[in-house]
């Protein structure tokens, strides 16, 4: 039988427990944000306007990223080593990434940092070789820079050799844009399908729990 004293004690205990629970929850949330490698949190930057051209020659802007998860990789089709490997990893990870995104659609986008050589037709053949659903973005150098400069993606065109070929130094990271068009994550190279899915799932789950 509960006395008045017991009742008071129980009340105090429950208040303390509740408070502790909130503290733990807050702490866990904070801990989670740092535990998710590559998560850009809090205050992720919203991607502003850019106007690129997709693999079908159609305009593609920041608004085409809204309402879906987007994974962006920057490269060029004349890149023989890092780019095909990363595209293969993205293709292998595609199903796992889509599952981690849940009901929200997910798109994988290859952005050419060599858009003059990578015309839409070239981009279309390139990205679809790895996965028929992959998108390719190009346009003019300025159009591409309007996107890369906002994301802190650096690229440098090397001097052409005797045969006119040149290479482009570029970021090897995969960038994660959330359905609100915010840059919420960077996944750095080297890439493996399994760890890519794990890290993306960590980011998506975190944002789901954070309720934003």
């Amino acid at each position: 039988m509960m006395t008045r004293g017991h009742l008071a004690l129980a009340l105090i205990l429950s208040v303390v427990a509740g408070g502790a629970g909130i503290l733990v929850a807050k702490h866990t949330m904070k801990a989670d944000a740092t535990a998710v490698e590559g998560l850009l949190w809090p205050n992720p930057r919203t991607l502003g306007a850019f106007n690129a051209v997709d693999q079908d020659g159609q305009p593609f802007s920041n608004e085409d990223l809204r309402g879906r998860w987007s994974l962006l990789f920057f490269g060029f089709t004349h890149c023989p080593d890092i780019c095909p490997i990363t595209m293969t990893v993205l293709a292998q990870a595609r199903a796992g990434l889509a599952a981690a995104a849940g009901d929200t659609p997910l798109q994988v986008i290859f952005v050419s940092v060599d858009p003059v050589r990578d015309a839409p037709a070239q981009l279309a053949e390139y990205v679809r070789y790895f996965d028929p659903g992959f998108l390719g973005l190009g346009g003019t150098l300025d159009q591409v820079r309007a996107l890369t400069s906002q994301m802190g993606v650096a690229f440098f065109h090397g001097p052409p050799g005797a045969t006119g070929d040149y290479t482009v130094d570029h970021s090897a990271s995969i960038f994660v844009i959330d359905p609100q068009v915010r840059i919420v994550g960077v996944i750095s190279a080297p890439h493996q399908a399994e760890s890519l899915v794990t890290r993306f799932r960590g980011m998506a789950d975190f944002l789901r729990r954070a309720g934003s």
């Binding site: 089709t77 004349h78 890149c79 023989p80 080593d81 890092i82 095909p84 490997i85 293969t88 990893v89 070239q122 053949e125 390139y126 070789y129 790895f130 650096a154 690229f155 440098f156 045969t163 070929d165 290479t167 130094d169 570029h170 970021s171 090897a172 990271s173 750095s188 190279a189 080297p190 890439h191 493996q192």
Partner: protein, 154 residues
């Protein structure tokens, strides 16, 4: 399988280079040669392999050629502050007993202007050229690029 591969590479190397310039290459063993499958529109493919110097002197690799490509260069991918860049290598020294690995994300053969484009599972002949003039033929299988392939045997 691996030893069989080595054995075949040695035999092939001996026979072919013996035919070419009369000097067998039995101290350089090439294995796990492959070419990354890529869309047929690309003008550059990447080739990877392992080159083991079983001899008693260092060996210098100075280049490669193939009837399927206009030219071949050796490059090394390097990452600095998250940015990848490629650096051409004009010669690579393999000390006695050492193995040189061409693998994704590191050293690779840049295979320019394929004609016709490599098809998956195809075996494509490459010839490695040593600085002393010896030539080491090898067949590279075309397959999908795999991250870190070639690293697992270190």
């Amino acid at each position: 399988m691996k030893f069989l591969g080595h054995g075949l590479a040695v035999i092939t190397a001996c026979v072919l280079s013996g035919l070419a310039i009369g000097v067998p290459v039995d101290d350089v063993v090439v294995s796990q040669a492959w070419i990354g499958a890529a869309p047929p529109t690309v003008r550059v493919n990447a080739g990877y392999l392992r080159l083991e110097n079983k001899g008693t002197r260092s060996v210098i690799l100075s280049g490669a050629e193939s009837p399927r490509f206009a030219r071949i260069e050796m490059h090394r991918s390097e990452m600095h502050n998250g940015t990848y860049s490629m650096h051409r290598q004009y010669s690579l020294v393999i000390a006695e007993g050492e193995t040189l690995s061409f693998a994704p994300g590191g050293l690779h053969l840049m295979l320019f202007e394929p004609s016709p484009p490599p098809r998956p599972k195809e075996l494509i002949p490459l010839t490695l050229i040593l600085a002393d003039g010896r030539r080491v033929p090898v067949k590279a299988e075309v397959r999908p690029p795999q991250p870190g392939a070639g690293h697992h045997n270190h």
